[in-house]
């Protein structure tokens, strides 16, 4: 029971951070059809901006200002670069975001250096919120979960219940018609891209001090957010949420499980010697393969349900 509760708590909180990271990516994809390879770079920028801003005026202003700054940069990138290559199709779009990731990395190293920076969680959020079976649950983790939930609700409300949300959705499927009605469709796209970047920036503000703020952080999360988006279904916000939670929980539980296939066979009365064929693979404990589980999940999803768990596009 103790194992179950603690693993569930950690799994959900890690899953919600993954969701924060991937929601912007899936939003941009669903609205614009652009697979943004620089998404994790915006996450990194968010963390570094928050570090600098929190040194100047404190963490709480940074929580607001850093995502805004990242959003403005994202919008500017869409306006002056992405829009120009949009006419040439998806591959150039993908390549320009790929290039942007490298440029952001070099710029970050130029400005903040190659080492990690000392970006700390604010003192108000230090310490434990409550404890489960004697293990303290950090207040900051609860804060991360809260921010993720707030983000989910507000993005959903914005898209489904407001006028601008309606325009965005309409611009996706019928851009000409929306344009004829007097809406500025390119500007809508710019806002969407900026908004998606800002969400990644927000994840950076929150994740940067919970984990490590360093120039390699973008590369470190880059692969996992693509897994989340592919498993959830490209372009589906709900899918990203489900996939994030699923990956977070599965991974956390797997780490706590110390059984292997060889051990299972042993219980059935089948004793394997260490020289048996494939013993090295059979003897791998579930906990050892935990970190590659998301990738195995992605492969399975691509084989059996290419559009993803909640995707609408046919693979």
């Amino acid at each position: 029971m103790e194992f179950l509760t603690i693993s569930l708590l950690y799994g959900v909180s890690y899953g919600l951070l993954l969701f924060m990271l991937s929601s912007g990516l899936t939003l941009i994809y669903s609205m614009m059809g652009v697979l943004n390879f620089a998404h994790a770079s915006f996450y990194m920028l968010g963390a570094f901006f928050a570090f600098t801003i929190s040194q100047l005026v404190g963490f709480w202003p940074a929580l607001l200002l850093a995502p805004l700054a990242v959003g403005v940069l994202g919008a500017a990138f869409e306006r002056y670069f992405l829009r120009r290559v949009h006419a040439f199709g998806h591959v150039p779009e993908l390549l320009i975001t790929f290039g942007l990731a490298f440029i952001v990395l070099e710029l970050v190293q130029l400005v903040w250096g190659r080492a990690s920076v000392d970006y700390r969680i604010p003192s108000q959020l230090e310490g434990a919120l409550f404890s489960v079976y004697g293990t303290p649950f950090p207040m900051y983790r609860a804060f991360m979960m809260l921010v993720a939930c707030l983000m989910l609700v507000s993005v959903w409300l914005l898209l489904k219940k407001t006028r601008i949300g309606l325009v965005i959705q309409a611009a996706l499927t019928h851009p000409e018609a929306v344009e004829v009605l007097g809406h500025n469709v390119p500007r809508v796209f710019m806002l969407v891209f900026g908004g998606g970047a800002a969400l990644a920036g927000l994840a950076g503000v929150i994740g940067g001090n919970a984990y490590v703020t360093e120039p390699n952080m973008a590369a470190a999360v880059g692969s996992i957010i693509f897994v989340v988006v592919v498993v959830g279904g490209l372009g589906s916000l709900g899918g990203a949420l489900v996939a994030s939670l699923l990956i977070g929980i599965v991974q956390t539980f797997a780490i706590g499980i110390n059984v292997s296939l060889a051990g299972g066979l042993e219980m059935l009365g089948l004793q394997l010697s260490s020289s048996a064929f494939g013993y090295q693979i059979l003897a791998l404990k579930v906990s050892e393969v935990a970190p590659i589980m998301p990738y195995m999940l992605m492969v399975l999803v691509l084989i059996f349900r290419p559009k993803g768990l909640m995707g609408t596009r046919e693979g």
């Binding site: 603690i6 890690y14 000392d118 293990t135 303290p136 490590v212 360093e214």
Partner: protein, 412 residues
């Protein structure tokens, strides 16, 4: 008449020996540093390049016994063994006779083999390889090679030192091992278990985890597992962000049990340790924060110049060893220097150290040092945190020394 001849003879002998003693004086020795200078662990490689160049500058010319000038030239291998071989080719094409590398034992193994092969095929162009951080014991045992010299202590030695220390720590009864799942991490676990079984058979290994390198973002589940296992000490060879994130997760869970580590002082980790306030972290290494005299001055100047920490003391050992070797060989020719460095005693970190002839593994004291608040006497501040690694125990070279199975082929 007879006397005059004798006098002239002895004078000319003296002059001859004088001139030959300083034949290498004033020469410039160029050393190729083949290292991951971009990519995932670039911050570590860049720091070490600066360290090498800084030490070379300080110990050049009259500051070293050979009177030579040292120059370190970077070659970026991006952390990959394959690119390392290309960079070795580039370096030898440019006439480099000395190479150095450290990060990753996988790269060290590939480079050691390649250097041996190159020297066999190119007599007269021999290259010496100085390994400053690849700690796989195989490199000085079954895979040993005459042209490879290691100035760091290997994992078998570090674990010998650590288990000798834990032998006298009665509070440590249940140990949890958490390591990166590749050669280095697996060896840490293996040699720890071997050593502790010999010295403290009552110590139980209550759990063991191997996790993929640089893949885990959140160590909390591992920490929960460590707690559930009832461990009262942790041993880890983790480095880089894997070390930093582990420390953060321990701190989040309010776990204050002693953590014994290899690389708690490497870029980024001290900053994370400082966030944990009273973390109970010790490291086993060839160095610590409280050297005095020349080494303290060196660290302070490095910090002033780069606002970064000098933590790879092996760079100092490399330069000191080569200088003494060249002075003894009276030459900068790698063939003569390699022969001179065998069983050579030279100035190490605060004491004389010896390059063992049988396997080219440097024999030097190791230190168990603990993360402590800086004091007036030992004021060094790691990553400007106000903390440093204070010596708890010095393990003499003869204690941490481990036997070798090396059967080295020497050039005839």
């Amino acid at each position: 008449m007879h006397r005059t001849i004798m006098k002239t003879f002895s004078l000319s002998m003296l002059a001859f020996s004088m001139s030959s003693a300083f034949a290498q004086q004033g020469e410039t020795v160029k050393i190729a540093m083949i290292e991951g200078l971009s990519g995932a662990f670039a911050n570590v490689g860049q720091n070490q390049l600066k360290s090498y160049q800084f030490v070379a500058e300080r110990l050049s010319g009259t500051k070293n016994p050979a009177g030579v000038k040292f120059e370190f030239v970077p070659f970026d291998n991006k952390g990959s063994p394959q690119a390392t071989l290309d960079q070795l080719k580039a370096a030898t094409d440019q006439g480099f006779r000395y190479v150095t590398q450290g990060n990753s034992s996988a790269v060290a193994g590939a480079l050691s083999d390649a250097v041996a092969k190159f020297n066999e095929r190119n007599p007269g162009k021999e290259v010496i390889y100085i390994n400053y951080a690849g700690v796989d014991p195989a490199l000085t045992n079954e895979r040993c090679n005459y042209w490879h010299f290691r100035v760091d202590a290997d994992t078998s030695m570090k674990m010998e030192a650590l288990t000798s220390f834990i032998k006298d720590e009665p509070k440590v009864k249940n140990v949890y091992l958490i390591n990166q799942n590749y050669a280095h991490g697996q060896q840490v676990a293996k040699y720890f278990k071997e050593g502790i079984a010999r010295k403290r058979p009552d110590v139980k290994i209550v759990g063991e985890d191997l996790h993929p390198i640089a893949q885990v973002k959140d160590f909390s589940p591992y920490v929960a597992k460590i707690k559930a296992a009832g461990a009262d000490a942790i041993v880890t060879g983790n480095w880089g962000t894997d070390m930093t994130l582990l420390v953060k997760a321990l701190n989040d869970a309010g776990m204050k049990l002693p953590l014994y580590a290899y690389y708690a002082g490497v870029s980024g980790t001290p900053t994370a340790l400082a966030q944990g306030k009273d973390m109970n972290v010790s490291q086993v290494a060839i160095s610590h924060s409280n050297f005095t005299g020349e080494l303290r001055e060196l660290r302070n100047e490095f910090k002033k110049k780069f606002n970064d920490d000098y933590y790879t003391f092996q760079t100092y050992l490399t330069v000191s060893m080569l200088a003494q070797g060249m002075a003894n060989a009276k030459s900068t020719n790698p063939v003569k220097v390699a022969a001179a460095m065998e069983d050579m005693t030279f100035k190490g970190l605060g004491s004389e150290v010896k390059m063992r002839k049988s396997d080219h593994q440097l024999q030097q004291p190791l230190y168990i040092s603990k993360w402590t608040k800086a004091t007036a006497k030992d004021p060094y501040s790691e990553e400007n945190t106000g903390f440093n690694f204070a010596v708890v125990k010095k393990i003499d070279a003869y204690i941490s020394s481990t036997p070798t199975s090396c059967q080295m082929k020497r050039p005839s």
